[in-house]
Symmetry: C2
């Protein structure tokens, strides 16, 4: 990142109080790059840098800072400049910030802002977290229906500076109800005298203000849209969600699912900027919970103590039995949980086909691993009968592990819960207990 190379230069200007130089520095770089450099400075320094810029530039840079850093910085800015900064921010970014600040602090700031901004903020703050309303921006371009192309372009020129996306323009009636959509491309291509109504695509795909953000991102991705309109119960246009938000949401959801697979509760911020105590809180619950099946496994082993006393070699292959079932089960659970996350409209018959496939896989993979384990353990113990116990157990345990890994996330889904709540360590723990029972039963059957 070339940004870091510029940090010393910025520091010199800060030390010398060279405001003009700092302003020039920030104006020359992309806001995203400036923000990456500022991530290296403390809150006071960041504010001393961005306060040298025009308010609009200030907000542009500030928006690219990670949220935890934004929260630290607002604590060191006086009320007046802070309210101006927040006024300049994009509606969706500023609501993200305000919803993480102290309520008192927010109430102090609001009276300093313009009436329009204030009511916009209050409205966006009122939507539930992770809903379309919470992530949308209110800066979109809209047009009435009964005008010509030339008039539309004229109106658009007035709106463009305040709109995040102008590739699509939304057509609304007097009640702001969404009537259709016009692409800027069509508008530019059309004769100026043509009525706008002839260009309108009335089959608009929109989302509801209370739709879940994951659904919104999926719709954007499904139709390859740059932005998707958000409407309320009365079909009134209230905002748009843009492509960059969709990328952020998808990354966030993929991260959450990955964490959950490893039995970590989702974090609000990046792992790097999350405090030690928060990380402990997000990890300890599952770790404690997962002790329970381990003690159940101890109970199982206690139950079979007679067998393992008589055939001491059985103990040697306990790690093998536990690992085979757990690994195969985790593979299946991961594949199925990810498939369900990616294809939200997966059908019941497809799930059933998937389960049949997992079962066949269990037979085949179990068979392969069983044969290999048979030969290795034969070489290991030089006892055919011992190798047979290991081989047969591996077959059954892998089959059972894959069946459990495949069915448990689907079971969660049928119960209306997030399949990703079913973590791999939890599946592994269940498979451990069943695996031990299978192993000792097989041993009793063959050698007992």
């Amino acid at each position: 990142m070339y940004g870091r190379l510029l940090l010393p230069e910025l520091r010199v200007m800060l030390d010398e109080g060279d405001h003009a130089g700092i302003k020039e520095f920030c104006d020359a770089l992309y806001p995203a790059v400036t923000a990456e450099i500022l991530a290296e400075l403390d809150s006071q320094e960041v504010w001393r840098v961005i306060s040298c810029c025009e308010p609009e530039k200030q907000a542009e840079i500030f928006q690219f800072l990670p949220l935890p850093q934004q929260i630290e910085i607002v604590a060191v800015i006086n009320r007046a400049p802070l309210s101006r900064l927040i006024e300049e921010m994009a509606p969706d970014d500023r609501v993200d910030l305000l919803s993480r600040m102290d309520e008192e602090h927010v109430e102090e700031l609001l009276p300093l802002m313009a009436q329009a901004e204030r009511s916009d903020i209050r409205k966006l703050l009122s939507y539930p977290e992770d809903s379309a309303g919470a992530i949308m921006t209110t800066e979109y371009a809209s047009l009435p229906e009964n005008i010509t192309v030339a008039q539309a372009l004229e109106k658009l020129r007035q709106q463009a500076p305040d709109s995040e996306i102008i590739s699509y323009i939304y057509v609304v009636d007097e009640g702001r109800r969404l009537q259709g959509i016009v692409s800027l491309r069509d508008l530019i291509l059309a004769r100026p005298a043509r009525p706008l109504s002839e260009l309108i695509n009335r089959d608009v795909i929109s989302v509801r203000v209370d739709d879940d953000q994951e659904y919104v991102a999926q719709q954007l991705a499904r139709f390859d849209f740059v932005a998707i309109p958000v409407v309320d119960n009365q079909n009134q246009l209230v905002g748009i969600v843009t492509h960059d938000d969709a990328i952020d949401i998808m990354q966030e959801e993929a991260t959450e699912d990955t964490y959950r697979l490893a039995a970590v509760e989702p974090l609000e911020d990046s792992y790097l900027s999350t405090s030690l105590m928060t990380v402990i809180r997000k990890r300890i619950g599952w770790l404690i919970f997962l002790l329970v099946p381990s003690f159940l496994a101890a109970k199982v082993l206690e139950h079979y103590e007679g067998v393992s006393d008589k055939f001491e070699w059985l103990v040697l292959f306990i790690p093998l039995i536990l690992a085979s079932g757990g690994n195969a089960g985790s593979q299946s659970a991961t594949l199925i949980i990810r498939a369900m996350a990616l294809e939200s409209n997966i059908q019941r018959d497809e799930l059933n086909a998937l389960l049949r496939k997992e079962f066949k896989l269990g037979l085949l993979l179990g068979g392969f691993l069983s044969v290999i384990s048979f030969f290795i353990s034969w070489a290991f113990t030089a006892e055919l009968i011992q190798a047979s116990v290991v081989g047969l157990s591996v077959f059954l345990v892998v089959l059972m592990g894959i069946s459990a890994g495949g069915t448990l996330p689907m079971g969660f889904r049928r119960l209306g819960m997030d399949p990703a709540l079913m973590s791999n360590p939890f599946i592994t723990a269940l498979v451990d207990i069943l695996g031990l029972i299978i192993y000792f039963q097989v041993a009793m059957y063959i050698v007992g």
Copy 2:
């Protein structure tokens, strides 16, 4: 998905050979929705449906079908209509398809296409898979520098129908070298007589044609761009990568990382559409490889057979020891691998800070779990000394598991390898072996 409700209607029209009805049906729906309905039909039927539409519409619908289905369908279409369909497809989508088809089949089709399309295809096919060149489209809008705003808009009107994105227009010199970028928004806002050169932003962020697709997607996301220009060695503009591709790439990369964490090799298509034999190939390698550490664990247990014979209760807590270390280690590895995937420009000092944090976490989480395990095993065995062995072992094993889970992915990264190659089952297997050694050494120390 409302699409599925329309399937019976479509089937009736197919049975009746109602071509006009089918055409109207397809024209009325979004191509993405039509494609979802067609996913339910066989290849012959799909082609009978889309061949009722105009060639442009055919391609729009066809592009939204999953790649495996596209490949099936091209096998049933005659050469002439197929080459027309492919000509109409977006350059990036058609290259995805052609690179998956038989080379012979492709060579049969190419002569039927226009010269310009043919050389465009050959060029895009020549870029390595997963590079910017392989995912870019060549349909972008470009302008020369020395014209007025009015002339620019006029030229744009000619290019617009063929450009995927016109929010940004790229300014090139006579040698097609990228000089700068103009936003359509600025163009619309500007006075018609103004020289275009005054609107050009010359600090363009671009990617190179051989850059990795993951890097390209990260750059798009980093700057919130709708599209990013792709240049060759001579800084000549050769294409653009658009926001919808960035979403697909990020989903693909997140899926690969998730699979790898669970020791599954990445699949080319969705899990649902991957054949049984391919899935086995992607899963069996790791499962076989992971048998090795299990037999090493058997060796360790054999080594300590004297101890476990004397203190039979030690066997009961083997699953607990294995699970504690493995679960804590998987959590750490997952958090760190995901952090490295999300923040590509993570610095060495940040990684070191992360490692120190993991070590502290190891001490704290190990401490908590140790105390809890101590009390549960005390209740379980009613022997203080046995509970002490379990408690102390859990502490050390969790600390060791977290240290291994934290350092191994970073070690891979320092070696220049993908940290996600370090799967959780592999880390768990290593932790298993070390965990058993710790457990028996602690036991020998306390009770021996």
